[in-house]
Symmetry: C2
Subunit: 145 residues, 2 copies
C-alpha cells in the first residue's frame, strides 16, 4: 500500500504517517521509487497506536509497549502497572459516563443544583488526588474538517 491508501483507510493523515515512521512507531517496507510502501499490517498497528493514545499513553510509551521489535525492554511489571492504571481509569470513566447521562436526563436547571449529579461525580472523583493514578497525556485529532 502507498501512503495515500493507508491514509484513506485509517483516516490518519499522510503527514502523521511520516511522523510516526520517524518516531519509530511504524515502518515502511521498502520504497517504490521514492515512495514508501506499507504492508497492510500497518493498519492494525495504527489502530493499536490510536488505542494506546486513547488509554492515555504518550507516543513514546506506545512505542515501548507495542513496538514490533520490542525485544529488550518489555517490562512486565510496567505492563501490569499500566493495566492497573487503565482499570482504575475505567472505573472513574464509568462514573463520569453515569454522571453525564444523569445530567442529560435530569430536570434540574443547573447541574450545580442537582444533588445526585454532584454525588455521582464526587464519588468518581474521590481519591483522584490520593495515590497518583496518573491520568492521560496527549491524543490526536483525527479527521480533516
Amino acid at each position: 500500500m502507498d501512503i495515500a491508501e493507508v491514509a484513506k483507510q485509517t483516516g490518519v493523515a499522510a503527514s502523521t504517517l511520516r511522523y510516526y515512521e520517524k518516531k519509530g512507531l511504524i515502518r515502511s517496507v521498502g520504497r517504490d521509487g521514492l515512495r514508501r510502501r506499507f504492508s497492510p499490517g500497518v493498519v492494525d498497528q495504527l489502530a493499536l497506536i490510536a488505542l494506546g493514545q486513547a488509554a492515555g499513553l504518550s507516543l513514546d510509551e506506545v512505542r515501548t509497549m507495542l513496538s514490533p521489535d520490542g525485544e529488550p525492554n518489555i517490562d512486565r511489571e510496567l505492563l501490569s502497572a499500566k493495566a492497573d492504571e487503565i482499570d482504575t481509569l475505567i472505573k472513574r470513566l464509568r462514573a463520569v459516563s453515569n454522571g453525564l447521562r444523569h445530567a442529560a436526563a435530569c430536570p434540574a436547571p443547573s447541574h450545580a443544583e442537582c444533588p445526585s449529579f454532584q454525588k455521582l461525580l464526587k464519588a468518581a472523583a474521590l481519591g483522584m488526588f490520593d495515590a497518583h493514578a496518573t491520568p492521560a497525556r496527549n491524543a490526536p485529532r483525527r479527521s480533516r474538517p
Copy 2:
C-alpha cells in the same frame, strides 16, 4: 484556603490554579490582600476537572459541561453523546487492559510473536477507524519532579 494550601491538598501546581482561574474553570472567593482565597469546594472541582481530562475532554469542554454557573448552554444531547463516547472508550480500554495483562503474563519473547496478544488487541482496535469515535485530547502532567 490560600493557593498554596489548595496546591498541597490536590497536587495541582499554583501556576495551574491561576491558569484555571483565568480560563474560568475555577473561581476564587475574594482576596486576602492580594492573595486569592479559595473555598474548600475547589478541591472537588479540581478532581472533576482532572476526571474530565482523563475522559478526554479539553479544558474548554470541561468548562461548558461542568461549569458551576452553566445556566444557558447545558446541551443534553451533547452530554449523552459524550457519555456514549466514553462508554465505547471504556470498552476499548478494557480490551487494552486485558491485552496488557496478558502480555505481562505471556511467556512469548516478543508481543509481536504472541498470537493471543495480537488477537486481544486487534479485537479492541476493530472499528477504531470506522465511525469516528472521537478520542481523547489533552491532559495534564501532575507533580513536580
